[in-house]
Symmetry: C2
Subunit: 154 residues, 2 copies
Amino acid sequence: MIRHAPKNYKCPICIGLSGVERKDTLLKLTDEVYKDDVVTAYINSFWIPTCEGHVIIVPNKHYENIYELPNNVGQRIFLVAKKISIAMKNAYKCDGITIRQNNEPASQQHAFHYHLHVFPRYEGDKFESLQPKDKILSNPKDRMKFANKLKQYL
Amino acid sequence: MIRHAPKNYKCPICIGLSGVERKDTLLKLTDEVYKDDVVTAYINSFWIPTCEGHVIIVPNKHYENIYELPNNVGQRIFLVAKKISIAMKNAYKCDGITIRQNNEPASQQHAFHYHLHVFPRYEGDKFESLQPKDKILSNPKDRMKFANKLKQYL
């Protein structure tokens, strides 16, 4: 078992999933764009400035990384990532989609609950040189605009 | 249908999958680390200098991107990505795993056959600032060393 969450870790994603909005989590109820019995998808709180409104997909139960993610959960996450990618193309009119998933701090994993990023990409967005050092904490109202757009296609 | 492959595209991944080694493809038979009825995994020809020996997982049939990848194929790719991640941790003794999948040229997709990258990560590897501009074409003999290591755990 490979885990980096400290003992008594208050998982910000589990708190958000429980529907509670408080200081320990940045997730807001209005960030949610998709939910089923296995996974939930949110507009991510941190943004790459030129790729605003990106989504994270998380399992509803707590697993830290891909090594311990149950097969059926990972497979559901693929289905939802495909669905979100197609919806994003339609809703955001983006030029591409980058999918990224980080395991362990050496891979820039900061929240110790498995999450898969789905980024909208645009010609000339400089995504490579911007992430992760230039990510910004977004405003929940701005996230809501992207959530509303995306939900029309989900 | 969103496709960027030019008309009469000679897909380098399809050529490699057919077992042919020629100039149109960089893939060598000795790069293969895993194969089943749906997907194949190779040590990638291009390397990030500090994250050598990374793997790509490809569908055996030609699909350009996630938008058109059949559900069962994407789900199999997840299973193999998890398997490769765990094997890489054991074989390479890396500190983390980054998974990345690019769709369309705006997302730095260069080979127009769906492929998912599994990168070994190391503390201080500067992966973020190195990719993709500093990627290097590796030597098949060097790739074989990584393939042999990895296959011991697959």
